[in-house]
């Protein structure tokens, strides 16, 4: 007679997608839309590895089965608001509104962080995410291309009334998929995006929150695609969830790709 825990283990192994694929990104000097301080022209991003695809519903289901403290009916309210995983049919079942290969959304920053740790990884930093997201299929930095911007803005131009697509969009020059056009993604330091080292604005923490303020602190005010990411992340608290917000994980460059 197998024990219940053995059944659970077997179930989680069956449900788990093939081990997540992490790809190497070279890092380097990078012109962020949010300069670290007014004097630094570029930030340095260390080489790192990034999950090629966002975490899916199937993967997150396997996680909550092995880490039941992250089930929606058991999670501490401090770590996730009431809408956490609310689109799932049950605390441990996906159901029709959460297809397995769709990116998991309605997850809090705490939950995303815990998931990444379970994969021996962490959430990417904003600069890492921005570095990766600057690429397209042929270029490491496509941000100056109006067509690239237009395509990304196209996603924003549609309300999210239709179901999310599955993961597996076009790979960029590094082999990373779905950084644009599918979901918003948590980053590790999302809540520090508003902190400024710019002495001219006296560290006004509200500078992105109202009219005109954003334009003062952003280097690249025409890059609406990046600007909207920053605005979105800035609006969140770590326990918040939204129907379009998911995540992927990152690892140091020397980490083994498992």
């Amino acid at each position: 007679m197998p024990t219940t825990s053995a059944i659970a283990l077997a179930a989680s192994l069956l449900l788990a997608a093939p081990a997540a694929d992490y790809v190497a990104l070279p890092g380097g000097r990078f012109l962020s839309a949010l300069p670290a301080d007014a004097k630094a022209e570029a930030v340095t991003v260390a080489p790192f590895r990034l999950r090629s695809e966002p975490v899916t519903n199937a993967e997150f289901l396997a996680f909550v089965r092995t880490h039941p403290q992250w089930r929606r009916d058991r999670v501490a309210r401090l770590f996730a608001e009431p809408r956490y995983l609310a689109h799932w049919q049950a605390a441990d079942a996906l159901g029709p509104d959460a297809p397995p290969q769709q990116p998991v959304t309605q997850v809090s920053w705490f939950a995303a962080k815990a998931y990444c740790e379970s994969e021996g990884a962490r959430l990417p930093t904003w600069y890492e995410w921005e570095f990766a997201a600057a690429a397209d299929a042929t270029r490491a930095d496509a941000r100056k291309d109006p067509a690239w911007r237009e395509r990304i803005l196209g996603w924003y131009a549609h309300p999210s009334t239709a179901p999310l697509a599955a993961i597996g969009g076009e790979a960029d020059v590094y082999g990373v998929r779905d950084l644009h056009g599918l979901i918003w993604e948590w980053v590790d330091d999302f809540n520090s995006l508003l902190v400024s080292a710019d002495s001219r604005d006296q560290n006004d923490p509200d500078r992105l929150k109202f009219c005109g303020a954003g334009a003062l602190s952003l280097r690249d005010t025409e890059n609406y695609a990046v600007l909207m990411r920053v605005a979105m992340l800035s609006s969140l608290k770590a326990a918040d969830t939204t129907v379009n917000l998911g995540f992927r994980c990152a690892k140091p460059a020397d980490a083994e790709n498992k």
Binding site: W184, D206, K209, T221
Partner: protein
């Protein structure tokens, strides 16, 4: 509605002045008195009734400061911007412009901003009627599926724009995130028959004007400030046809007009009306008798006018290509009886000749009327003919009929006319080319046919000529002209 409005207004008018004096007295006594702060809210909290454009909430009819709860939801949705063209609007309350908010000066407003869970974007609100950092924006930054609350006191009366101020601000505004907040003065506004809510905005799409299908936001065009659409109330045709604003003759109409921008300034004008009163810039000063009022982006105006005669009055941005090529047109349809003493409609449709505009053509009008009734006299013909001659003939033949030696033959004491007084009829109808001899002098020139003149006019002109400057007299009648006009044209040489 009108009578109810007046009845309520009467109550308010009776009650309010006392309070208004109390406010003024407090201001005079206490130099630290804050303008528009009438103390803490009184009575039960009131849930503000918000309205979708073009409707305006009823007057507050209050004479005390209250706590007013405003609940506004942000909804991102696809809607038509023109026929067969859709656009993803970001809205306050599901409409562009957003819901109209009406409070009274001194009210304490508890504001709830909800961001619909299906939205993709975070949003906030900057109300220009708020005194405080960001106009509320910093306190209302809200992720999808969340709600923010903040409270402000409406210290200043006036008509104020509100808008989203989340980065990228321009894009949020360009997608329709603006509306109007009216802070009534303590005594309320004068009652009128109709109040309407109209707001202009410019829109930027990747497709051309009226290109069918779903059109995405064009960031480059927005930065270049070259809109594809300039419209009232969020879409071309939002206020035309069945959706036109309506009024009856003899009514007073008040328009709360805002301009959301994001880029363009509006030259707001109503074709066929004169604004009796304009609270320009939405402030307290009133300008009267205004044709066109300038409404800045992020600004507003209250315009009022009285309707006199029926018809369709067209609201436009008088930067007129926007009206006819980008959509900035709306209609106010006024029904009721005609008043010909104010406006006649078309009375006369006649040929207009530029150089004839100068002389007084009263005699011509008189002759036309007399001819129509069959009682035209020779004297009337001469008078009318003189005026027509001044406009049409005197340029060449001169006012005194002497012509110009060697170029234009004289009509005065003309042996050419005396020889055949009917000959000039043919000349006026067909023209005259080549050599003629008049009073012993040769002229070799061209007179074109006066084909713009009708039979009456030719008869009058020639009767005037025959009875002037020593010519033999006589009369040419319209039938004489008609007869010649009906004849086959003679060969060019036949007249000479």
């Amino acid at each position: 509605m009108k009578s109810a409005l007046f009845a309520l207004a009467a109550v308010a008018a009776a009650a309010v002045p006392l309070h208004g004096h109390a406010d003024a007295a407090a201001a005079a006594k206490n130099p630290s008195y804050v303008h528009g702060d009438f103390g803490p809210p009184r009575g039960d909290p009131i849930h503000a009734v918000l309205t979708a454009p073009p409707h305006v909430p009823a007057p507050t009819m209050r004479n005390y400061p209250a706590k007013v709860i405003v609940e506004l939801e942000v909804i991102e949705k696809e809607m038509p911007i023109s026929e067969g063209v859709t656009y993803t609007f970001w809205t306050f309350g599901g409409t562009v412009p957003g819901s109209f908010i009406r409070v009274r000066q001194g009210d304490t407003v508890e504001f709830h901003l909800r961001n619909n869970p299906n939205n993709k974007m975070p949003h906030n609100i900057d109300l220009h009627g708020v005194t405080g950092p960001g106009g509320g924006a910093a306190s209302s930054f809200t992720a999808p599926g969340h709600e923010s609350q903040f409270t402000f006191k409406a210290l200043n009366e006036g008509l104020y724009v509100y808008h989203c101020a989340t980065a990228p601000v321009g894009m949020h505004v360009a997608n329709g995130m603006y509306g109007l907040l009216l802070v009534e003065p303590p005594q309320g506004l004068t009652p009128v028959d109709h109040e309407y809510y109209v707001m202009q905005g410019d829109f930027y799409t990747t497709g051309k004007y009226r290109e069918k299908g779903h059109q995405p936001f064009d960031m480059e065009a927005a930065i270049a400030e070259k809109p594809t659409y300039v419209v009232f109330n969020g879409a071309e045709g939002a206020l035309t046809g069945d959706k036109a604003l309506t009024a009856k003759t003899g009514e007073t109409v008040r328009l709360f007009v805002g301009n959301g921008g994001p880029n363009l300034v509006s030259s707001f004008h109503v074709i066929g009306e004169i604004f009796d009163r304009v609270q320009y810039e939405g402030g307290t000063h009133v300008q009267e008798n205004v044709q066109t009022t300038l409404i800045p982006a992020g600004g507003a105006a209250i315009v009022e006018f009285h309707t006199e005669v029926p018809g369709s009055y067209v609201l436009v941005d008088h930067s007129i290509f926007r009206a006819f090529n980008k959509g900035a047109l709306a209609i106010l349809k006024v029904d009721g009886p005609e008043d010909k003493s104010i406006y006649s409609g078309k009375e006369v449709d006649s040929v207009y000749l530029g150089e004839r505009a100068n002389p007084n053509l009263a005699a011509v009008t008189q002759a036309t009327k007399a001819a129509a009734s069959g009682k035209l006299t020779k004297e009337e013909q001469i008078k009318a003919g003189q005026q027509l001659f001044t406009g049409t003939c005197s340029v060449c033949h001169q006012a005194n009929g002497e012509g110009l030696p060697g170029v234009f033959p004289p009509l005065a004491k003309s042996d050419f006319i005396a020889a055949d007084p009917k000959r000039p009829v043919q000349i006026l109808l067909r023209g005259l080319t080549g050599k003629v001899t008049v009073n012993g002098k040769d002229y070799n020139s061209v007179m074109p046919p006066m084909s713009q003149l009708n039979d009456d006019e030719i008869a009058n002109i020639l009767t005037f000529v025959l009875n002037s400057w020593g010519n033999p007299g006589g009369r040419i009648e319209a039938e004489d002209v008609a007869k010649v006009r009906a004849e086959k044209p003679a060969t060019p040489a036949a007249g000479h």
